[in-house]
């Protein structure tokens, strides 16, 4: 039973990280219908920025919680800036181009950013400091959940709630929903669509960066390629829930996280990544609209 709970929390932790990344995929897809292939790299860049920030800050012997907050802020700001720049350089010139052009451009961006970090930093795995403090009150339950898992769950719940409130109740959120429904019409009623799209990329990237920081601190090491697998898995989660749907992305992420945790825990850990890929292929083939998405027919 203890093992079950251990797996359960491990699945929830994974799921909330996937959710932080999947939200970016789903928001961008909802608004411009693009699979932002470079989104996983925002996760990776966030992790690296957090590593750099925390290393620099630890020279000044700041307390751990302060380092955590500042590193998280730096990760979010810079990943947001990268998201903004990537959209401006690689996607905006391609609006109205044939469907595959932005996808190929996105793949190019992803390869570029991975190798940029490889060249600017290192090709090896680097150890990531444990930024999350140990909570004493968790001591009795240490076999099933540790403090970093708990922090990840808490932070991602907080962030996701904030995002939901933003989308439901703010002017920007309303403009985002309008743009997602009908870009031309949104433009006509005076919404600055370009700014909304930029905002979406910045927000999505910042969320992914926070996910990057949390998981890096949890696992303890990073390299330039971590964005690829994490990105694919989060994309799988977004598609599973119905891409374009925000609750769908969260639901899909938790399903994927739990499936992975239980499958590796009870079946075999050799094929950890295979579950996600197989799930991805199966959903796209049998229910491309996902769990909460709605099917759209192509207009003749």
């Amino acid at each position: 039973m203890e093992y079950f709970f251990e797996l359960l929390f491990s699945g929830l932790t994974r799921g909330s990280i996937y959710a932080l990344i999947a939200l970016g995929y789903t928001m961008v897809y909802g608004i411009i219908g693009l699979i932002n292939f470079a989104h996983g790299e925002m996760f990776m860049i966030g992790a690296f920025t957090a590593l750099i920030a925390s290393s620099v800050l630890s020279i000044y012997h700041l307390p751990l919680p302060a380092i955590l907050v500042l590193a998280g802020l730096a990760a979010a700001v810079w990943a947001g800036a990268y998201g903004f720049t990537v959209e401006r350089l690689a996607y905006r010139p391609l609006r109205g181009a044939p469907r595959l052009a932005p996808l190929i451009s996105a793949i190019g961006m992803s390869i570029f950013l991975q190798n940029y970090v490889l060249l600017a930093q290192t090709a090896d795995f680097v150890p990531f400091p444990s930024l999350i403090p140990e909570f004493a009150f968790l001591e009795p339950y240490s076999a099933i959940i540790n403090s970093s898992s708990l922090t990840i769950l808490a932070v991602s719940t907080l962030v996701m709630t904030a995002l939901t409130l933003l989308i439901l109740y703010t002017r920007t959120g309303k403009a985002m929903r309008a743009t997602a429904q009908d870009q031309k019409m949104a433009l006509l009623v005076g919404i600055n669509v370009d700014r909304i799209i930029s905002f979406t990329f910045v927000t999505g990237s910042a969320l992914a960066a926070i996910g990057g920081l949390l998981i890096a601190s949890h696992i303890g090491q990073i390299n330039f390629a971590i964005g690829f697998i994490a990105g694919i898995k989060a994309f799988t989660a977004a598609v599973l829930g119905g891409i374009g749907s925000i609750p769908g992305a969260v639901l899909g992420s938790f399903i994927l996280g739990l499936t992975e945790a239980f499958a590796t825990g009870y079946i075999s850990s050799d094929y950890e990544d295979l579950f996600a890929f197989a799930l991805l292929v199966l959903i796209l083939i049998f229910r491309p609209a996902g769990l909460l998405g709605k099917a759209t027919a192509e207009k003749v």
């Binding site: 469907r99 595959l100 932005p102 996808l103 991975q114 190798n115 050799d270």
Partner: protein, 406 residues
Amino acid sequence: MKSPPMLTNKDVRHAVLTGFWFMFLTFPLLVIKVNPTEQTVTWRWANMLWVGGVSAVIALACRLVATRRAGRAELLRQMPAQTTHELHPFALPSRDRLIPLFGVIALFFIVFPFVFSAYQVNIMTTALMYVILGLGLNIVVGFAGLLNLGYVAFYAVGAYTYGLLHFHFGLGFWAALPIGGLLGALFGVMLGFPVLRLRGDYLAIVTLGFGEIIRLILENWREFSQGPSGIANIARPGLFGIDMSLEHSLVYQYYLTIAIALLTIFVVNRLRDSRIGRAWFALREDDIACQAMGIDTTAAKLTAFALGAAWAGMAGVLFAAKTTFINPASFTFMESAIILCIVVLGGMGSIIGVVAAALILMLLPEYLRAVAEYRMLAFGAILVVMMIVRPRGLTSQTRRIYHLPH
């Protein structure tokens, strides 16, 4: 009439701001380098200046090009409408003028092994294998417009077909070559069937997933594939049982690869100008109109997948024979991305373009050591820039010209 392109203060300000933006953007990753194990931090301020300067210059150059283009468009609008035919800067000359050029190229490739070292021959053989792979993927992506991001899976199928058949049954290269092609085609159809209904970008992701699944299976199913340690001591291609020195064998493989590459060019060229080729292009251009014209799009897609995968399968056999050792690490997504880059750079659908792009992209990093380090960085940038500047590739795509009776 021609006024010099003007750069306004606004352009300069924009360039300076762009420079500062990129200095800010690249600050943590490019300037600071930490060594977490030794707790040391290196500051590389020179990088910041470089980034700022280079990005400002690029921004200025982009503005310059944009103003000039706008000026030219304005000029065209003022002129009478007769100049609608825009000359393509890379447009190919007519076939007759190309014949001497082809002669020179053929001669170069024939004498290559006698002039250059074994090392160079080896590199050229690799580049030629990418010609085969590029042309194969070109059938799927360039002709039929189906973005396949898991093409490397079929390459792996071919390589492991030969590797395993040789390991278990001692099968030779020549027997494995057609089997590799057939198995590649079979896997192509296997992948093709379930994904037929999928839209462009979903198809791309599923093929990517498929490619990764194949690699993960090869990595983890040790009883079948010997896992990450791979299969070693695969026989090089034989020639009527003659014993060859390593050097001769390299030269032999070089000519063999040229022969298969030529065969690929021949077949792909014929396919392009055929009933099936036209169906593929129609599918790529507009799949609904394509169906309405009486084309079975299911069959057209499956044939494209199967034929494209068949070349990857054969290239895989060739690869296994050349390196004599294979393991799953050779078949990652990056490999698919490189092949896709060849097709995109060459101009989707253009045969000469793909051949040229394969040779350029594979040889350049080998001969320009400075480039080698930045190879993948450049590949990524090429994909982005090509999509924005010239989505149809370097060469203008040449459709067959039919002789008109008059």
